[in-house]
Subunit: 267 residues, 3 copies
């Protein structure tokens, strides 16, 4: 990445002017996602009700929508927020958690996709299924490798004009043409719930910093996660000790450390 | 326990083929319960809405229902899921949190009980009240000793054809005839919120592994919790340091360690 | 403070007879707030539905209401609970999270204020805006110093006949006439989500202990938080390691330590 769009540069900008990130996420992720954003330096706000989600989306720098613990009432709030974000020119991120699992979820994601997310983040099974492929996901867990989702991701990015991020052992980000792989993180991250959901919120934070560069913003968020995850894992003895070390590592990360340790490769 | 139904054997089976556990639990427990299941090796999914809870229950290996932060909308989702679980032959666990506290709660538990849970898990005050006795519970906390709930548990098990687990300083599990006491754990566990709720979800995970042996599955879940709790407490300095050590201990537990350290006695 | 209303005396009373605290709080705060109350020695219960919130408020020692993740259904539960608390003579605490951010929130707080909270706790931006001033809050975060909210707090206290607590680097508590400043805590507390919300619940716990002395109860809760926060911060390396150390410090705090370390000044 050129210096002015490197992960470290974007992290510095985020810290200098903490963006307000409007998160509509699931009940499992609420607390850890807010803590991840605070540790990274952003200002999270969890606002979901149809009565105010539209008004709030127009105030915030970016919006993130995650369908983890979906219901009809929440779906109405999500649609209201996504429409308002679109109208006020704010980018938003879609996290289609286990969208393949039920008819209700499939229909919900279909409607949200039509509202034009700037970024779609999912695990390999979710991205494969979203592109119309046959995924092997079980519940919310991926059973597919990221490498098997790359073509699906490119297709999805082109069809929806969005950045698509597939996260797993090695992450993959594409705008349909360009693509980057991001190494790092730790297998322990699969043993801690809602870290993927939290990453979606962090993508929103970087998008708010650089709404005009969603590809670079997404890469920066994933690189931040990967470096902090690797740092935390080096001292952790299990998922419990990983979690709090991960927040400490996120808070301690600075621009130069991030750019030095991020392992990005063009794909 | 015979070797083929020992806690360690069941834990090995759970790890070899991670079961998908459908959890409808309360807002306080969502995150820690998911982390407990992941640390133990299972695959949790929190799905509560009436629109999809039935479809999802049929996919999962087992279902758990906890009425902690109840509302009418959630109760409809719980009933839909319990009915679907019954129709597709999937076992489910009922956690009747503070069911004695309000009329709404009492009515809800009455309806759920009629849908045939395979296992009922509660603290002593909850189990005594569920069997029609006079409990001294305050809010969600038990004020009764497990030993005072044993007869209530046996009665409840016989009336509902279910396994009943009473958890506390020494746990008690019965199918109405057989009974086992499980020692271990730590007093620190009472200072960490939602560990009982998380245990209910873990009972679901073991039930999914051995739907034909709900008594042994319940004992295995409780033994796993007791051993991990004892391990974590040995190094903890309070409820905060206990929590993450407990997740580390759960993840580090293996079959032989579990069978060696579990303290089960026929009652 | 005189000995019989010192923070330590009130903490001892709380530990001797753990009060049942009815908390209606947001999804982000649910777990950490319950853990804070348990660590301090109180008995938290999260009960929000209109169907039972009134019945439960009459059972509990005090009620706390936080509008963090508001919706119309939850607002009905909050109003039902506040009315029941009033009718049964139980004090309650209002936490007007980001009430200035949307019309829905402003209207909700207006209705709740009319139901007569005993204590209002907020950050400086929230208190300034509640008193009709121009605040600079962004989302849920304060952008104003506590010192700029003191006159707003005094005004608000007089108009509503309530104790008003403004929390920040140095906390400020007033009944409209008397006022106390409380030093302590740590800047790390701003990097951990929902600690303010948890403090609101802890104010409820102390209120339940001394419903007749809401000023002293509020000061005791804030002093407890400040001392535990300072203790935890002395060994923490970031927001992750702060969180669990804070719970350990709360649990380890005793009356004499609290009274020795609390830094209160009349204002």
């Amino acid at each position: 990445m050129p210096d002015h769009t490197s992960p470290g540069t974007l992290l510095s900008e985020l810290r200098a002017r903490p963006p307000l990130v409007h998160c509509i996420t699931n009940f499992v992720a609420m607390n850890i996602a807010a803590n991840v954003l605070l540790a990274a330096g952003a200002s999270p706000a969890m606002v979901h009700a149809q009565e105010e989600a539209g008004e709030f989306a127009a105030i915030a720098g970016a919006l993130t929508i995650n369908i983890g613990t979906l219901s009809s009432a929440w779906l109405r709030g999500m649609e209201t927020a996504a429409i308002a974000a679109g109208q006020s020119g704010k980018p938003w991120v879609l996290d289609p958690v286990a969208h393949y699992a039920t008819g209700f979820r499939r229909a919900a994601v279909g409607r949200l996709l039509e509202l034009g997310p700037a970024v779609i983040r999912g695990n390999a099974s979710e991205i494969i299924a979203l592109a119309g492929g046959a995924s092997r996901g079980q519940g919310v867990d991926s059973r597919d490798g990221v490498e098997h989702a790359e073509e699906s991701a490119r297709l999805l990015a082109r069809v929806h004009g969005a950045i698509v991020a597939v996260t797993g052992a090695v992450d993959f980000v594409t705008d349909g043409e360009r693509a980057v792989r991001i190494e790092g993180g730790s297998a322990l991250m699969l043993q801690v719930t809602a870290l993927g959901c939290s990453l979606t919120c962090l993508v929103g934070a970087f998008l708010a910093v650089r709404p005009d560069a969603p590809f670079e913003a997404t890469v920066a968020a994933l690189a931040t996660f990967a470096v902090a995850g690797e740092t935390a894992a080096s001292k952790a003895h299990g998922p419990g000790s990983f979690s709090w070390r991960f927040l400490d590592a996120l808070a301690a990360l600075d621009a130069s450390l991030l750019d030095r340790q991020a392992r990005l490769r063009c794909a």
